[in-house]
């Protein structure tokens, strides 16, 4: 690319060696900020020539991917501006956008983008003065941050200098074999009954895999096969991933779910990917599952494993009961270690954090294992598979990988239930769990929304409150 130059470079007249000037891509809404910028012009207010305006009908039209693209294209900074909340020409586009910007900003900062590079403002059509001030302030901040070095690393990725804090000891020991076997027996009986009575035509649960101790998803369609259903702390898969495939079928499905899996079922219900009346949810009271190293998975530290209220059955070592019931097992829970790890990363200077994530993403193979196991990644055609436009570069390099992982994290904002399956299956051990956890924390703190609890509410990024926090917007 640099050998031939691109259209923009071609269009630029040759300039001699001169002091670096930041380039700030400014995405403006037509009705307010664009008109406000026009007013700055009409009143001849001088401001730095660093912004390059891009006009859209509404800030609601601004996809986070466009902002990512700006940095990918080489912008040193991005400025997004639109109508004040309550004044949107299209009623509410800016307030919906405000939530998206909140999530994007948290994510970008988390992966190491210098916060001095990303600016948001509300500038009305009459605020020509404010526009010139906003531009001046953004320019000063970007200038301080320096030229943007590019979205991905150049050359061999550096070894990570960051060491995450040690994970404390798990709050509980391994579950008892007898309990696991009892649960398996109850699952087998329940499945056989459901199939025999014709209540469902398939039970999706777990069965032994071909490697020692491995548990894999299984589909039981005949009651005589129900005996292969099993249960242990290796039942890691989130079986909700299989639900969207049944959406158009008449068949009723029974699904074995843990508490973390059920959050994904709630998400699928919110997004009409599953018909509630055609799914029977068999909740298993779960003492926790093992991670790849064999110790308690991080997500289980803070989880009591109780069967969520939307389940149709509760299975414990004592038996299978209709409805959702407490298990009676007192499980020790502690703080979620992911919180501490995220907090630690967030506390680092941006360049250290950036180095950490660049090293992580450099290893990514783009196998899309993360996408494949995620119940919320159900799109028939993923954005990564589209080329008009090519939002996600197809190249398996640091730049393409970063864009992919940021894109997926943004698409999961407010939707990820934290089952961490993505992190478990990643061949390169990329800490996708931390990436999604950071965004989930932001959504919870800012909007008071915890994913996977109530199927009747709208997903948080589809809605807004007039008083949503906006201290980051000038």
């Amino acid at each position: 690319m640099p050998e031939h130059g691109d259209a923009a470079a071609v269009a630029q007249p040759a300039v001699g060696a001169r002091e670096w000037q930041p380039v700030i891509a400014a995405v403006l809404c037509h009705w307010c900020t664009y008109a406000g910028a026009d007013m700055a012009g009409t009143t001849r207010r001088v401001y730095p020539a660093t912004v390059r305006p891009l006009r859209v009908p509404c800030t609601g039209r601004i996809d986070p991917l466009l902002i990512v693209k700006a940095f990918e294209s080489g912008a040193d900074g991005v400025l997004v501006s639109g109508c004040h909340p309550g004044d949107c020409h299209y009623v509410q586009g800016n307030m919906v956008a405000r939530r998206r910007f909140t999530a994007l900003r948290a994510l970008m900062e988390f992966v190491g983008l210098d916060p001095r590079r990303l600016h948001f403002a509300w500038v009305s059509a009459s605020e020509g003065v404010k526009w010139s001030q906003v531009v001046a302030e953004a320019t000063a901040a970007v200038r301080e941050a320096g030229p943007f070095q590019g979205w991905g690393t150049l050359g061999e990725p550096r070894r990570p200098a960051v060491r995450l804090p040690e994970v404390p000891a798990p709050p509980r020991g391994a579950p008892r074999i007898e309990d696991q076997q009892a649960v398996a027996a109850h699952l087998q009986r329940l499945a056989a009954t459901l199939l025999d009575e014709g209540q469902v035509s398939v039970v999706i649960g777990y069965a032994a895999g071909s490697l020692d101790g491995q548990m894999v998803p299984t589909f039981v369609e005949r009651s005589e096969d129900a005996s292969k259903l099993a249960w242990s702390d290796r039942c890691v898969n989130n079986l909700a991933v299989y639900l969207p495939a049944f959406r158009r079928q008449e068949a009723k499905v029974a699904l074995v779910v843990k508490k973390c899996d059920a959050r994904a079922v709630v998400g699928l219900l919110q997004e009409a990917q599953v018909s509630r009346k055609r799914v029977v949810l068999i909740g298993v009271s779960c003492p926790g599952v093992a991670d790849n190293k064999g110790t308690l998975a991080l997500k289980c530290y803070a989880c009591d494993g109780e069967v969520p209220s939307l389940c149709d059955w509760t299975v414990t070592p004592a038996g299978a009961q209709q409805g959702a019931h407490p298990s009676g097992a007192a499980r020790a829970v502690t703080d979620d270690p992911r919180d501490a790890q995220v907090t630690y990363l967030a506390s680092l200077p941006p360049e250290d954090r950036r180095a950490y994530w660049q090293a992580q993403f450099a290893e990514c193979l783009r196998c899309y294992g993360c996408r494949a196991v995620c119940p919320m990644c159900y799109c028939a055609v993923c954005v990564a598979e589209q080329n008009r436009p090519q939002w996600v570069p197809t190249t398996i390099d640091a730049k393409g990988n970063l864009t992919w992982n940021v894109t997926r994290a943004i698409h999961l904002a407010g939707r990820c239930g934290g089952c961490d399956e993505c992190a478990r299956v990643c061949p390169a051990d990329v800490r996708l769990d931390l990436l999604n956890h950071r965004v989930a924390m932001e959504v919870e703190q800012r909007f008071g929304y915890r994913t996977g609890e109530d199927p009747s509410v709208a997903p948080p990024l589809d809605t807004f409150r007039p008083d949503d926090p906006q201290e980051f917007i000038r």
């Binding site: 690319m1 640099p2 691109d6 259209a7 923009a8 269009a11 630029q12 007249p13 300039v15 891509a25 664009y34 910028a37 026009d38 700055a40 012009g41 001849r44 001088v46 020539a49 390059r52 305006p53 891009l54 859209v56 009908p57 509404c58 609601g60 039209r61 601004i62 986070p64 466009l66 693209k69 294209s73 080489g74 912008a75 020409h89 299209y90 509410q92 586009g93 919906v96 956008a97 998206r100 010139s132 070095q149 150049l154 158009r248 997004e271 009409a272 159900y378 799109c379 028939a380 055609v381 954005v383 589209q386 008009r388 436009p389 939002w391 390099d397 640091a398 730049k399 589809d462 809605t463």
Partner: protein, 672 residues
């Protein structure tokens, strides 16, 4: 293959002084796809436009970029010129190098590269532009007005007079609404019925107005220009085509019912007409009170317990077996004018409403004042019929009360309280009137003068202070209040207490949901914009008028009704309407039907659609945009993760290409 033309305007000195326009034109010429690039002094002038049009024709340009001023100023100008030259107007874009470049960057060495970049970015956008054609939506040139009060009647008449058929739906047995209950209206003291009845009669006789009274809207489907409304016509049990309104049935009916029109202060019969000037004049049999309603034989045969009205009805108009009827009407526009009711004053417990018949609200007092009311216009106590020597009127009952009532001001109470005081004094010259008030709001034409007259000429006592309690003791009503101007508590004995209760929106019917329009936190129908679009709603084709939208007096109601009618006429003025084509569209092959797009759309422009195979089996559900309702904001585009929906005129490809060209490639960028 794209063939783009770039026209860089000097705008006299406005651009050329601080941006080297020839350089900009040169750099544009080097962009792949640009086949023509030039500069000119004034592109918007006639010769300037001619250059553009000639270039389009002679070079077969597939898109143009005019690098000059802001699109806010001249986009229509250049798009019209493009269209005249045979190029689709949406393939013409403007690069703003004046307001956002030359005028704000005095140094040409800074402004020029920026201008080049802006032009390059718009060239890339235009390369991705498609020809767009306005969306033509057929319009059913009939309107519906829901609500037969003064707002509804006025709107219906305006539309009907303009030559379009109107369906006027009213849930009561007669049109007229609340205004028909008033005695006289402020500030002119016109007799309310006298000014209203001619309108009501005109509406009933108008060849273009179909009057459906005793009817309610059941369901509304469709969209602007193409609504289908199902209306439930409740059975009157009287055949409207035959009833002569002779009134013999009333004399024969044995059942007495408190008359709702008089707020229960007088009686009617089970078969009745609500008031003498009711329109239509057809009588109605109230099935909930008629003795026959209870006499269904268990074996299913209907046994009539009482046929007295039918026996005396010469035209044989009574039909006990009449059934509700569902009718459907297709209309292009709907006006919601459902009016108001009064705040349930019993919620203001200190005022004692509902505990004593002599504590009445404003509308009840209107009936007491009315010549056709329960007391024939004499002001008498509802409890014992005795004359009223002392009346206390309390303003702001429920209004301006964020804690126990409603926070807003109901706008009319100061005026009608003054009117009540004046009318009472005219009927009872030596009667005493005390008005407890917080402020006097009299902003209309002649209003302040009216208040002054009442205060000064009529010698009504205005006490600035609130009432803490109204009690009844030993057959008297005592009002405890404060006089804040003097700084003392006061007590007034009253024969009658009139509460100026707040105006709240008329309840029942769930109309807002059926029309898919919003209501504000108080239940008033929500206008599209409080200042600039006060009679439209965000649902295209649905308009609001009158007190249903917010408390107001009759002049404003009538004005708003005519305003709504004018909007309706705008809509109905052509057999088809044209909508801007910058609307969203769904790629049904990619859509997952998660409906995030639908959730973020403020205009309800997105619905689900089933895709069926030849056997009628549903193969897929997808989202679908109604281009007649889409306003082109693009919120749905961002909500869609797999990019299954796109916005014409601001497509993802366009924005992507623009952004790519807006920013120079980073030095040393390498693909590993």
């Amino acid at each position: 293959m794209a063939k783009i033309g770039v026209f860089v305007c000097h705008c006299g000195e406005n651009i050329a002084r601080t941006v080297k326009v020839k350089e900009v034109a040169d750099s544009a010429r080097r962009i792949p796809g640009v086949v023509f690039s030039t500069d000119y002094a004034y592109c918007c002038s006639a010769p300037g436009q001619k250059i553009i049009m000639d270039a389009i024709r002679e070079r077969g340009l597939t898109g143009i970029v005019v690098a000059s001023c802001s699109p806010h100023l001249h986009e229509p100008t250049f798009r019209r010129a493009a269209a005249q030259a045979g190029l689709n107007p949406f393939q013409c874009e403007m690069a703003n190098i004046r307001e956002q470049c030359s005028w704000v960057h005095p140094d040409p060495s800074e402004g020029t590269p920026k201008a080049c970049q802006i032009v390059a970015s718009m060239v890339e956008k235009v390369k991705q532009s498609r020809a767009l054609h306005p969306v033509e939506v057929p319009v059913t040139r009939r309107a519906m007005v829901i609500g037969g009060g003064v707002a509804g009647v006025r709107a219906a008449l305006d539309i009907a007079n303009a030559g379009h058929p109107v369906v006027l739906v009213e849930r009561e047995t007669s049109i007229g609404g609340n205004m028909a209950r008033l005695s006289e209206t402020f500030p002119t003291l016109d007799c309310s019925q006298c000014i209203l009845t001619p309108l009501m009669v005109e509406a009933s006789r108008h060849p273009n107005i179909e009057l459906l009274t005793y009817s309610e809207v059941e369901e509304v489907s469709g969209y602007v220009g193409n609504f289908k409304v199902r209306i439930r016509r409740k059975p009157r049990y009287v055949r409207a085509d035959v009833c002569t309104a002779c009134g013999e049935c009333v004399k024969a009916c044995p059942v007495d019912v408190p008359n709702e029109f008089d707020r229960g202060m007088a009686w009617r019969k089970a078969i009745y007409i609500p008031f003498p000037q009711a329109v239509p004049t057809t009588y109605t049999l109230d099935a909930s009170r008629c003795l026959n309603a209870k006499s269904q034989n268990p074996s299913g045969y209907r046994v009539l317990a009482c046929e007295r009205c039918s026996d005396v009805c010469l035209p044989r108009a009574i039909d006990y077996d009449q059934q509700p009827e569902i009718v459907e009407r297709e209309v292009g526009a709907i006006v919601a004018a459902t009016g108001f009711q009064l705040w349930p004053a019993e919620q203001g417990r200190e005022y004692g409403y509902g505990t004593h018949p002599d504590i009445v609200d404003g509308l009840e007092f209107e009936r007491l004042l009315s010549a056709s009311g329960p007391t024939g216009g004499e002001v008498r106590r509802p409890s014992d019929g005795k004359p009223v020597r002392s009346v206390v009127m309390i303003q702001c009952v429920g209004s301006r009360d964020p804690r126990f009532g409603v926070p807003y001001c109901s706008r009319v109470c100061c005026m009608y309280t003054a009117k009540h005081a004046l009318l009472y004094k005219h009927k009872v010259p030596d009667g005493r009137v005390h008005v407890f008030y917080m402020d006097i709001r009299a902003g209309g034409k002649g209003y302040e003068e009216f208040i002054s007259r009442v205060m000064e000429e009529e010698r009504v006592v205005y006490v600035r202070g609130r009432v803490s309690e109204v009690i009844h003791r030993d057959g008297e009503l005592i009002v405890y209040g404060a006089d804040t101007l003097v700084g003392r508590a006061v007590q007034v004995k009253a024969d009658l207490v009139v509460l100026a209760s707040a105006m709240v929106p008329s309840q029942g019917g769930d109309l807002a949901r059926k029309l898919r329009i919003a209501v504000d936190p108080h239940g008033f129908l929500q206008e599209a914009h409080p200042k600039l679009r006060p009679v439209e709603t965000l649902t295209a084709g649905v308009f609001v008028a009158g007190a249903a939208q917010s408390p107001k007096d009759i002049p404003d109601t009538v004005a708003q009704a005519s305003a709504a009618a004018s909007k309706v006429l705008e809509l109905l003025s052509h057999p088809t309407m044209q909508r801007e084509p910058t609307v969203a569209q769904v790629n049904e092959a990619v859509c997952n039907a998660c409906f995030d797009c639908q959730r973020v759309c403020p205009y309800l422009a997105i619905e689900g659609a089933e895709i069926k195979d030849r056997e009628g089996k549903v193969r897929k559900v997808v989202a679908r945009v109604n281009p007649a309702m889409c306003e082109g904001c693009g919120a749905c585009i961002v909500a869609c993760r797999p990019q299954a929906i796109d916005l014409s005129g601001y497509t993802n490809e366009q924005l992507f290409a623009q952004m790519d060209a807006l920013v120079p490639a980073p030095a040393g960028a390498v693909v590993e």
